[in-house]
Every structure is written in structure tokens, then in C-alpha cells.
Symmetry: C2
Subunit: 434 residues, 2 copies
Amino acid sequence: MTRLSNYLLPTEKQAPADAEAISHKLMVRAGLIRQMGAGMWTWLPAGWRVHQRVVAIIRQELDGIGAQEMLMPVLQPAELWRKTGRLDIDELFKLQDRKGSEMVLAMTHEEAVTFHVAQTVRSYRDLPLILYHFQVKERDEPRPRAGVLRTREFVMKDSYSFDRDRAGLEENYALHIGAYDRIMARTGLRFYRVESDVGMMGGLGADEYMAPCPAGEDQVALAPGYAANVEVALRHPDIREVGDGDAHPPRYMLGDQVLTIEPAIEIGNIFKLGTRYSEPLGANFLDEAGNEQPIWMGSYGIGPARIVAAAVEQFADEYGISWPRALAPFAVHLIALGKPDTPEREACDGVYETLRAGGVEVLYDDREGQPGEKFADAELLGCPLRLTVGRKSLESGEIEVQLRRGRQQAAGLALGGDPEALLRAVDELWRSLP
Amino acid sequence: MTRLSNYLLPTEKQAPADAEAISHKLMVRAGLIRQMGAGMWTWLPAGWRVHQRVVAIIRQELDGIGAQEMLMPVLQPAELWRKTGRLDIDELFKLQDRKGSEMVLAMTHEEAVTFHVAQTVRSYRDLPLILYHFQVKERDEPRPRAGVLRTREFVMKDSYSFDRDRAGLEENYALHIGAYDRIMARTGLRFYRVESDVGMMGGLGADEYMAPCPAGEDQVALAPGYAANVEVALRHPDIREVGDGDAHPPRYMLGDQVLTIEPAIEIGNIFKLGTRYSEPLGANFLDEAGNEQPIWMGSYGIGPARIVAAAVEQFADEYGISWPRALAPFAVHLIALGKPDTPEREACDGVYETLRAGGVEVLYDDREGQPGEKFADAELLGCPLRLTVGRKSLESGEIEVQLRRGRQQAAGLALGGDPEALLRAVDELWRSLP
């Protein structure tokens, strides 16, 4: 039951003064998120619905490759991070407890998961294994920016694979690539998988998932059959700069193909860690011959918040957000134009009840207020289907339908007829959407 | 698909040396949780399944009273806590970011939610409102103890109600009592709702939900028609101590009824905050006459981890855990006694596939290993139904059934017959369980 008259959706006409990224502006204006401090954000109810849609897709695909969900703490003993040599990372928040013990707030969970695996995995029979959780991460970002794109706290899905050798790691890595490809495709985003650097994680190789959009802080280099993080591309021996002086930005060629460089948001990254963490933390197993061997690990992250923001960036228009249907907070935004106790309001209440009883996720704008404001809020929030019932509907016998993407008017739906027919018609419309 | 051969369920014969509480011992031994440091715990996959069962029940009942789910950050500006006078609480973790700004880790979210409501609620039309989230809490406990019963980090569901006046608060408080009563009843726990102190929360009144068990740190005072936290009871004007000297513990009477005092775990608490937080944080609304008024608030917490631990405490026997069916990690623990490639193993694989395809949550012990070890692990983990298929099953044509609670053998189920009949029989058994 979601009636806008008692739902916290504080829409705003103005974006925050410091907002530059489209997603930052629109997510605040649509009432999805609110800021608590630099890099600290709250997900309001409608925003959290979108976030949790992404979480549900990720969970389903991870479970599908046999990954096991768990939960590891954010607050951790500093000692673990000292052992892996990561205690000095600037982004790592450090603190002391009341007894003066050194603690950290996890920015990722390699140390934690490896600590547990070192204690629980004993033999090759216990491998392979994929573990994951959704947990808040804390990072002391020097420059939080762009709403939820770069924050100091965010929910991340991080999974970790454990294998007896490199071949096993390659298999689990390939399983994750499959799962990530499906996750990204299901969100409805445009994305690239690109080669990347291992960075602070260390290890043997890495790929990134990138969603192209102007607010992206990263850059991807693209040519037919080639996609890489731009830093990786610039080290490619066959990529050469061609220039016509200082006046223009540099252009690059790969063989005889022009390399396109696009800004993009990093929405996922996966790393072949090898034994980078298992060795310092003593995560070993006994092989068939009874010899102790270090466990081979992989690490796989996705930030649901960035997927949400990337979807806003890629599909917004001048009126607001336009969700891909997999991420929409509600399938239907139903607008009542009539005042309470009018026949047109009663008709709209009936449509709401039919949709709700039929399991359609519907946000019902039953507020007092002007039609123009209601339409503007609906376009700002960006649910894929907008249905409107007003006095005109009673005359025409039709519910007005707008498809948010492209703002096209669709054929009206019969008002007051067979509820099953209405549900079938809404379902058919829904399936036709991107 | 949950096959024990590749599931992380590290059972142990021995409990941790420092463990005293039954839940601490058994949850570690059953492979549900592992410790990372003092008061810092990881939920392993089977434990997390139980935790999330509690979360799902809470979410459903909160949504049922119109509460709206969101997510607020753990990392917060210290300034907010200074305004409410709670910055000096010893249990509050404080830290500085790289620029030297003072931050805290939220131990509860009154400050955060009131901050947002102050910015977004303007008029009496925006009220009433119930907001909630599931989020990790951090508390610098001086004495973490008893496994997940008293930790420095834990997931809490906290909800907050916002009303225009005291009558509104009383209504939302009553709605929460209804939801909490249903939540606790659905978990299968024995529990009391008792009057309590407001403590560090401040405000006008409070109730606690208590699950009686020997490991409880709290005490409830009970008499016919009366239940209170023992501190509250001892201030009751009609409760009097009757003693026969120093040799015996004190006894108390309420009128002519003996007061029973039982140890209990606090599993939920609810507070009438009044304007304790809205005033310092400026959370006001405009009433119909255009006058600014402070918002009346309530605050409502539940710790899923404590509900899990209390269920272990209340129903365990000398063999292990015995879950109420609402919380069990799996409905069925299926044990294959036969080695791979034997007819009895093939028959057990068939039962597994039937149950799985029928939507039964089943943990399949398909490991190599001795029957005795498999039975011991099943009794330790405590799933309500244990099914066993071995060579004997082929002879008798029956799947062996044990009900974990009470360890009774039930009538066998037909092996290799109609899959639908097997699913119906399992479902019927399931419904008969506590």
C-alpha cells in the first residue's frame, strides 16, 4: 500500500547548489536520497526500493553460481590489516576503542574473509568455495562527490572465491564474469567490460565493468574488438598517439582503428588475487598428498548505488529520471486528478485497488494538489508507466497512459471493465518496455 | 542448491574455551558464526540464513503497519550528537576523518532520522510517518560477551514514528506493540512484554520484549497480570520484600502474589520519545493554524541476532540446536548414507531433486563420511525435519524421518513413489511442527 499522501517522497524544484552530476541533481530532486554530511548519504524510501532491486538481481545471479551469502563485520581489529600491509592506506578509517585497541573500518573484506577461511578450510575437499555479503564499506575519501557516485560509506556486494590452484581461480573468475555480465544486462544499463589495473588490491589481473555517461570519473578506450580502462590502453604496445599539435586533445589509434575514449562510471570490478592475501593470513589447505598449499583467491565487487546512479545518468531527460523497468521503484505511477468524493476519484481508487490486488507495484498519487504538480513529480520520479484518471476518463471510459521513456502517450485502457482485463493490459504494456 | 559437500558449515566437536552461554557454544559448534575479535562476529552462511528469516518476519510486520524502509549511514558527523547531548556517551565510537573532522559511528539512529525529518516534513499533512531501516550499529561495549548476545557491532531494525501530538504518538506506539507482538509470536519464542526504563534514550515511557532463558543478562519480574523489568518492579509502591534473613535471596510480593524473577534476554525495546530529539534538532511542523510545533516521536528497536540466540537458548537440548520452524536455516536436513554410485545414493539424490524442485528448503548431506558424524551434525544444526536414505530404505521402501524437537522418529515416507505425494507428506509434517 503506497499512497503518496503518506509516503516520504520529498520532491524539490531545485537541485542542491553544489550538484553537477545529473544523477546527483535528479536523485535529490526526486526525493530518493538526502545528504547527511560530506560523502554521507541516506536512501529515502523510494530510492531504497531502487537500490534493493539491484541487490535482488545481484543476489539471484550470485546464488546461481553457487556463491554463499554471509555477513562480516565493518569494525575490525587493525592487526589483520597490518598483516596484509594495508593498514597504511590513506582511505582506511582508523579508530581506537575505549581500551585503546586499534581498530579499522573495513573498506573491503579480503582480510576478514581470508581470516575466516584460514580457520575453517582445511583440505582440498573444502574447495572450491565462493562467499559473499552485502555490507556497508567505509572509505575516507579525500573528495566525496556527485551524490552517491563517490561517498565515504556505501553498500557493496563483495564476493570472494577460494581455489586450490590457478586453474580453479580461472574457473571461478569465469563464473563471475558470466554472473556479472548477466547482472549488468538485467539492470538495463549500457555497459562495457574492460581490462583494468589491479591497484591497491594486488594480484594477477583485473577487469572492470563500466557504464558510459558524462558524469563518469573513469575513461574507457574502445575500438572494434577492444575495450580497456584508459590507463591500461595507454600502455598497450600497439596503441599510438596521433596529434595535430597542442590545440586539440590527443587522438589514439589501435592499428588502423581510431580509439574512442568515453567517460564512464565504474560499476563493478573483479580481481584475480592469487595468493596475495592467503599467504600473509595463513589461509592454506592440505592437498591429496598431505602438503600444505596456499589458497588461490579472487575478489569481486559491485556497488549497487553506482548502478542506480548510472541508470539515472544514462536515461534521464530534461523532465527527470526514466528508469529501466528492472530498477523502477514502482511499475505504475497512478495519478488521481479528481478531488475526494468525486466520481472520478472513486474510479481512480478502483483502479488502484485492482492493480494492488493484482500484485502490480503501484504508487498512487492521491494527494490534494494541482494536476501540473502531479505530472511533474511523476516525470521526475520516472516510473515506466503513468496512468491518469480524471473527469475526462469518465467521459471517454479510458485510463490515460503515458510511457515515461520518450514520454509517448499510449492507447488508453478501459476504465471500470473487467479487472482481469486491466491487469492483462498493464502486464502487456509492461513487457513491451525497455 | 545446497549440498553440504560444498557448503561452508564448519561444525566443531568442542565449544570455544571462553564460551559459557548455550547459544554461544552451539552457534559456534554448529558453524553458524565465527569470532573476528572481541565483540566482533561474522555470520557464516547457515547462520545468516537464520538471521535473515528474522529480518523477513520483521520487515513484513513493519510494512504491514505502513512503515517505510530506507537506509541511513553508520558514519555520521559528531555535530548531530552534540546537539542532542549524546556525544559523551561512553559506548559511542568516535573518530576523525583525514581532515580532522569529528565523526561518530551510530549506535542508534534517532539523530539521523530526526535530522532528515527536520528537513523534509513541513506540515501536519506530512504526518503521521513511520520510517525504519536495518543497519549495523556500533557500540563500544566495555564487556562484549556470550557470542552474539552482546557485541560491538550488530544489525538492528530501528523504526521511528513521527506525529503531531501525544495522541498520535500513542497510536503509533500501539501499532508497534501490535507488530512486535506478532513478530515475536511468529518467531516461535517464549517472550514477555514488560514495562521498562527509558535509559539513555530519554522520553516518556518504554516497554521491552524479553525472552526468558538462563543466559539472559536482564531480569523480569512476573506475577499474574503483571510483568516488568526488575528495576521498574522494585520501584513499584505495592511490591514489598519479604525475607527470612541474609541466608536466602530476597523474595518479593505484589499484594498477596509472589513475584517470580526470571533471567531473560532483551530482544526488543520501544520508547515514547516525545519531543526529546525533535526539539534540539529543530524537527517541527506547521499546524492548521500555521503555528510551528515540535514533532512527537517514538523509537522502536529489535535485534535479530538476539532473537536467533534466544531461540537457541530456549529450545536446545544436549544434542544441539532445535529451531522453531520459522527460523530454521533449512526445513529438511537430508542425509545420504550410501557411497557415491550405489543404488541407495541414487535413491537419495532422487529425493533431493524432488524436494528441491518442489521448493522445499533442503540441506543435502552428500559428503563422504560416517553415518554417526552425519547424524551428529544434523542434530547440532537443528533443522526441524531430518530425512535419511540408506541401504535399509531400499529394503523397506521408506525414507526415515526424525523430528528434531524431542528427537522422535516419525512414520517413514514412501521412497521412489509419486513425487507429488512425497512433497505433500513433507508439507504435512512441516505444518505439524512447532
